[in-house]
Structure formats: structure tokens, C-alpha cells
Amino acid sequence: MLTDYPRLRAILLRVAQAIPVVIGVVVISFLLTRALPGDPAVYFAGVAADEASIEQVRITLGLDKSMAQQFVIYVGNLLQGDLGQSLSSGRPVATDLANRLPASLELTLTALLLAVVIAVPLGVLAATRPGTWVDHVCRVLVTAGVSLPTFFTGILLIYIFYYLLGIAPSPLGRLDFIYLDPDHVTGFYLIDAALMGDWETWRGAAKQLILPASTLALFTLAPIARMTRAAMLTALSSDFIRTARAAGLSSSLVLYRYAFRNALLPVVTTLGMVFSFALGANVLVEKVFAWPGIGSYAVEALVVSDYAAVQGFVLAMALLFVALNLLIDLLYTAIDPRIGFSSK
């Protein structure tokens, strides 16, 4: 029985709570795409279209039907797992997303990992040594990260490391043209290449990742470092730390076992938020580095009013965030067992 597994029950409950959200997203994305300016029939009829050929295209695309009919058809297809056909790429939206989402995720997750590896220790150091040079470095990095737009950082990094110094590879997307893509397993080139044991391609893919991931990491580093620093300061000044210190526990034990663990909760929350806006900031990074990700796909689809592609993108993102929030909730309980599911 489910009651015997409170955690499983709680997870299922959380998943069930996501269902109305997904339904809402389906309805709203459908309505919003229809509210987009521009007439896809006119656009896709091409440069020299006349009225008859525009009408012909409208019928081919099913845009001559009423909104309600179009919605029923859309939901019907959706229930069969069919996200529709993208007009601009001429392929099923599901295929497009499957090809492009891993590219964006690989970039975003690498950047996030990089940001965490730098920002968390930096935040901890800054909190334990307020007012010293470490604190100042932290402040400068945070300010730079927040105030520099990603496309600017991207172009600057290309200019220095590729154009002037020549140590970075050509900013030509996920792989230079001399490599072949690894076989598609997860869509993450680093993982797929490793699975094939093709370390040459793995290195190629990793090299291409360095500049765009650094660009994005610089952007995401700021909130993580700030939040770590603030949370650590709060934790360090709280009563239980004072008690622990008074009890004569070693300072590293106090710092890592008690203070840091307590400071982790807000940091994880911030990570969730940062992940979502990093995916957004991706669009510009993808443009600059010719990265074939989901951001550029969605923007192009928006520009030409490619309904199915936009809807598919919104839906995929919604599912991703639902899953992410679930993951963060689970992480909470792992970090702080006092947060139980029974209370929800």
C-alpha cells in the first residue's frame, strides 16, 4: 500500500499536483501562439505569393478551421504523443526538440556546474573572511557577472581567446567540422562520446564547450555566490553555531557540518531559479557561439509564427520545470530531514 511508503506517496502526490499546471500550459500556449502577430499562411506562402496561393497554404496548414476545431485536433494529437509538425523545419516538433534540447541542457548544466564549483567555495570564503581580499574578489566577480550581458561576454571571450590568442577552437557550435557527431544515445555529446569510447570526439566536444559554458557560468555565478555568502553569514551568526563553538568543536567541523549544511537550503532554491533563467539567457549565447540549441529554435519559430514549434517548446519547458521543482523538493528532504512530506 502506498501508505506504507510515505515518500513514494508524496512524490506521486507532487506529480499529480503538476497535472493542472501542464493542462494550463497547453491551453495558454495554444491561445498565446494564436495571439502572435503575423499570419503564418502569408509567411509560408513565400516571396511571390498571390491571394490564391496564400489561401491554399492556409488550408494545407489547417488554419482555415475554427480555433476550437484546431484546439481539439491539437489536443487529440498531443494525447497520442504527437507534438505536431514544425513548418519551418518540416519535421515533427518532437524530433526537433529531441535533437536540440540536449544541446541546450549540456551547455546549461556544464555552465551551472562550473558556476557552482566556483561560486559556492567563493561564497563560503567570503562569508568566513568578510572584508578581506577574498570578499572583494567575490564582490567584483558578482558585479561583473550581473552587469555584463551574456552576448557581450561571449563576443569578448571569442575576441580574446579565439581571435587574438588563438587558443580556443573556432566558435562553430558543438563540434568542429572535422569530427562526426557521436551516435545519438542521450544527445549529450560528452556522454555519448564517452559511451562510444571515442575520446578524440569527447575532447573536441569539451573544447567547444569551454567558451560558451564560461560565458553562461559568469552570468549564473553571481546569484549563487551571493546567496551562499548571505546564507553562510546568517548561519554563522546563529545560536547553534555559537553553542557549537562554545562546546569546543573544531572550526572546520562547525563550518562544514553545521553551518554549511544549514546554508545549503537557500542555495539549492537559488540553483533552481538560476537554472531557469540560465536556459533563458542561453538564447543569446547560442546565437554568438552558433550553438544548435533550443533557444535559437524557439526564437526562430516565434519570428515566423510557427505555431506547433512554439507550443512544443513551451510544453517541453513546462515539463522540464515541473521535473526540476520536484527534484529540488526531494533535495530539500535529503539536506534537511525535518522537512517532511507529511506536512504537505
Binding site: D39, A48, F289, A290
Partner: protein
């Protein structure tokens, strides 16, 4: 290679440069190739290059020196591609083509007249852009196309037209391997649109070795090509790089050999260190269009006042970085039939004020000037300069920016923008064809809602008339005279297509403004 290119040579890493070798060229472009089949609904402009590089047409154009350096296609020189020869019947209504007997598709099967017929039937039947373009040459119904025997293909025309032969050399009427296509056609998809979208089946100079939408397209040479001289380059990689700054870094470093369709500003700056070709786009003009559906613009003096107020020189510098050709300050008298031609207008505020005073709007008026956000690179500086200039003659202009997806609908379909910037370039390079699209009532690019009975008659009379007909030139001159006096479109300048090369030569400009990779070779 230029001096600046040479100075960075020591830093070039061995990796891509060595791997490329001289038989591979890399091209970067900002546009997305979204289909390998031009006939499909929704195929982007950038995809037209696949139609050129992978498929053959019956005919093609020759080559000439381009203004602005480099080579260009030659509209006046029609050459055979898949056809070996062709004849026209006396009345001009029957065209008979003899196909090259050694032409084969990639799968080794001989190219037959039946393939040509199937491909032409497809182009006139699928609707949308290909059908409209075929119609321009009088090619409208499958019954017009006859496969007489394996090597003889006949076209029956309803009327003789000088546009038919050139229309056979545009990217649309390409010849598809009909046997392969039909093997992959279904009942719902009799023209194999789904199959050819991803899998080209042609006889052209290059095959598609690899295509990843949004990333790259790799062409591989077809060594059995008979449509023209065998290309020098074995593999050509077309890589999509959306950011112009990144494209510029790549071409300057020499990691790629061609940067296609670069911004005017980059072209002007790169021209000092690299080979940059800025070819004025034939039959294409950037215009300011006053819309006749709005009262002030029905007043001829208002239109002339605007034409004299426009700061042409400044616009050409700020919007085009002097790439392209000026379209102002020409002779009033019309002595030839070359189009685009310089107008008789130039910047003269006194004259502009005189015309305003004479008009029914001596006290001026307010009007929005609409521009497209997608074309902001030239429209925005132009609009700002026009706004400032018109302010000096009492016309208060507010700039209205319209999102790209909405622009076509607003400007060309609904034709509801009172004053706007627009550009049109015709594939068939004759003045009457330009006038047919841009000055005849109700036609797509006549975004000014202009109607003049004499223009209607003149265009109808000249559209299919041979250019050496004695009546042709006088009628065309009369057409220019009316249009430049009435000014439904005020020409600003002729734009250029910019291409930078670093380690490649042989670049040739085409009216379809896509890259013909067949002529490129590395140096």
C-alpha cells in the same frame, strides 16, 4: 592572402586548417537552410542554394564581370545545362529541348524527358511560390509539358514570351529523379514532398553528404556531372553561424574561406584586408513608398516635396556604408531602358519647400513611417534620416517599428502602411517584370496602392514582348517617365550582396542571392 591574414598565420592551429586541405571549403552564413526541397511550403530562401548546387535545370546563365569586382551571372547569355540544345517554333509557341545523352542521376540512371516532365508537373501543381514563379514564364499546367521520347522534351505555350527561356534558368524548374521520388511517394503525398525534403534526388554538381538543420550542410562533388565544368572543390561545408561578429572573427582568422551575405558595415571594414565582393543586386531597389490610399500622398506635390527632401547621400553612407549604387541625381531625360536607373531627384530643401507650399498641405501634416524590425539594419538609419529631413519641410514623422512576422502582412498583403520603406528585386531581370510586380494595381509589391491606367497598359503590352521589338524601348521609356514623375515609390539606392573570401576564389553573384558553390575553388 592579405598582409593581416599572413600575420596571424603562425598562430593558426594545425587542427582544422590541416584537416581541411585544398579539396574542402568552409562557408559560413547567418541564414538557416530548413529544407532540401525548394518546392515545399515553408522552405526558406537560404535553402534555394540546394536547388542550385544539387539539381540541374534545362538551362542556366553565362558569366560576366560584375560591377564592384568579381563575377556575376549574365542575364543576356542563356546556356544549356541539362539540355544539349533547344529550338523555338516560328510562332514562338513550341519549345523543343534535346537532353544531353550522357546525363545521369546520382543513382546512375539516365536523365530522361519523363523526369523533366514529372518535375515541371510538380512545380506547377504543388502551389505556393514555385507555382507562381513558373507562371511568370507562362508555365501553368501539366498539359503544357510533353516527353516526346527519352531525350526530347517539349513545352507548349499559350503565348510567346521573352520571360519563358530565362524562367527555365531560375532555381525553381529543377529536374528530379522521378523514379526515385515516385518510389517514395504516398497517396497523400503524390509529389514525394516528405521524402525530397530530407533526401535530394538529382543529377546536379553536388550531392548532400550530411545535413543537420540549424547547424550545417555538407556538399560532396558528383564526379559524373555533365551540366557544366566539373567543380574544383570536392567538399563544401556550409556552416550556420547566426552572429555576424562570430562570422567576422572566423573569416578574418582564415578558419573559414567564405563568409556569405555579411552586413554592409563589416563589408566596408573587411574590404581593407580581405577580398570582399559587394555586388549591386540586379533589378533591386530600396525605396521610400508613400501610400496612395492616404490623402496627403495623393497630392503629387507632397510626393515631390518628399523626393527633394530626402538626404540621399547621408542615407547611402549611414545605411549602406556606400555598398551598392546611388539611385539619385540622374538626368531627367530618359535615353535608355536600363533599370534600376538614377532618378532626377536630389536633396534640395528649397525645392522641397516650394512643392510643399504649392500642395494642399502647406502647413504640413503628421504621418507614421513604418519599418520592419527584421530589416532594421538598413531601415532604421534610413528612417531616422528621413524623419529628420521631413521635419524640416513641416511633415512630422513618427517611426513605427513592426515585428518581422507581421511586416509582410501589413506592407504587402494588406497594404495599409501610409509611409514605409520597402524593397523589391525581381529574378527576371527586365524593367517590365519589375513594373509588373511593383507598379501594377493589386500586385504584391505595389505596397503604395498605385494605379495608373497608362502604366497598366504599358506593362501588359511589354511584359511578354521581345526586347528587340521596335515598340519595346519607347514603351519602357514612357513607363519610367510616368513612374518617376508620379513617384509611388521613391528610389533611395540599389543594395549590394556582400561576400568576403579568405582563401577561396571564383565567387559568382546570382540573382537568387544564394551561393553557387560549383564555381568556388581554394587558393
Amino acid at each position: 592572402m592579405s598582409a593581416a591574414g599572413a600575420s596571424i598565420l603562425p598562430f593558426l592551429r594545425a587542427m582544422p586548417a590541416a584537416a581541411q586541405g585544398s579539396d574542402t571549403l568552409v562557408v559560413v552564413t547567418g541564414a538557416t537552410i530548413n529544407s532540401l526541397d525548394l518546392h515545399r511550403t515553408g522552405t526558406s530562401r537560404a535553402s534555394y542554394q540546394v536547388g542550385i548546387n544539387c539539381y540541374d535545370r534545362l538551362l542556366t546563365f553565362g558569366t560576366k564581370e560584375a560591377p564592384g569586382g568579381g563575377l556575376s551571372y549574365d542575364y543576356t547569355d542563356v546556356q544549356p545545362e541539362l539540355a544539349e540544345s533547344w529550338t523555338e517554333s516560328e510562332d514562338g509557341l513550341t519549345l523543343t529541348f534535346k537532353l544531353k545523352s550522357n546525363a545521369t542521376f546520382w543513382d546512375g540512371r539516365k536523365v530522361t524527358a519523363a523526369d523533366v516532365k514529372w518535375s515541371f508537373d510538380r512545380a506547377v501543381s504543388v502551389g505556393g511560390f514555385p507555382t507562381v514563379q513558373m507562371k511568370a514564364g507562362g508555365l501553368e499546367r501539366p498539359e503544357q509539358f510533353i516527353a516526346e521520347d527519352d531525350e526530347t522534351f517539349i513545352i507548349k505555350l499559350d503565348r510567346a514570351s521573352k520571360l519563358t527561356i530565362p524562367d527555365l534558368a531560375v532555381p525553381v524548374p529543377y529536374v528530379i529523379n522521378s523514379v526515385e521520388a515516385l518510389a517514395n511517394a504516398t497517396e497523400e503525398d503524390p509529389w514525394a514532398l516528405d521524402y525530397l525534403h530530407l533526401t535530394p534526388a538529382g543529377s546536379g554538381a553536388y550531392k548532400v553528404a550530411r545535413w543537420t538543420a540549424g547547424e550545417q550542410l555538407v556538399y560532396e562533388r558528383n564526379d559524373d556531372w555533365v551540366g557544366g565544368p566539373l567543380p574544383a572543390t570536392k567538399r563544401v561545408i556550409i556552416r550556420e553561424v547566426p552572429s555576424p561578429a562570430t562570422r567576422r572573427a572566423l573569416i578574418e582568422r582564415g578558419d573559414v574561406q567564405v563568409a556569405f551575405d555579411i552586413p554592409d558595415k563589416d563589408a566596408a571594414e573587411l574590404a581593407e584586408t580581405l577580398d570582399v565582393f559587394s555586388t549591386p543586386v540586379e533589378n533591386c531597389i530600396h525605396c521610400l513608398c508613400p501610400n496612395f490610399a492616404f490623402e496627403p500622398f495623393q497630392d503629387a506635390d507632397v510626393r515631390k516635396a518628399i523626393a527633394y527632401a530626402i538626404p540621399y547621400e547621408d542615407i547611402f553612407k549611414a545605411a549602406a556604408f556606400e555598398r551598392g549604387l546611388p539611385m539619385w541625381g540622374g538626368e531627367e531625360e530618359i535615353n535608355d531602358i536600363a533599370w534600376p536607373r538614377k532618378t532626377q531627384y536630389y536633396t534640395d530643401l528649397d525645392k522641397a519647400r516650394e512643392h510643399m507650399a504649392k500642395s494642399g498641405y502647406a502647413n504640413g501634416f503628421e504621418v507614421p513611417l513604418s519599418i520592419s524590425l527584421d530589416l532594421a539594419s538598413w531601415m532604421e538609419p534610413t528612417a531616422l534620416l528621413v524623419q529628420e529631413a521631413l521635419g524640416k519641410i513641416g511633415i512630422t514623422v513618427e517611426i513605427e517599428k513592426i515585428p518581422g512576422a507581421n511586416w509582410r502582412t501589413a506592407v504587402l498583403v494588406e497594404k495599409r502602411l501610409p509611409l514605409h520603406l520597402e524593397n523589391f528585386g525581381g529574378w527576371l531581370n527586365t524593367p517590365d517584370y519589375y513594373f509588373f510586380w511593383a507598379y501594377q494595381d493589386g500586385h504584391l509589391f505595389n505596397s503604395s496602392n498605385y494605379r495608373n491606367e497608362e502604366i497598366e497598359e504599358l506593362v501588359n503590352a511589354t511584359l511578354h514582348m521581345p526586347m528587340d521589338d521596335p515598340e519595346y524601348a519607347p514603351k519602357i521609356k514612357r513607363m519610367f517617365e510616368i513612374a518617376l514623375d508620379e513617384l509611388p515609390r521613391i528610389p533611395l539606392y540599389q543594395p549590394a550582396l556582400n561576400v568576403a573570401t579568405n582563401g577561396a576564389e571564383g565567387y559568382e553573384f546570382w540573382f537568387h542571392r544564394q551561393l553557387d558553390v560549383r564555381v568556388l575553388k581554394s587558393v
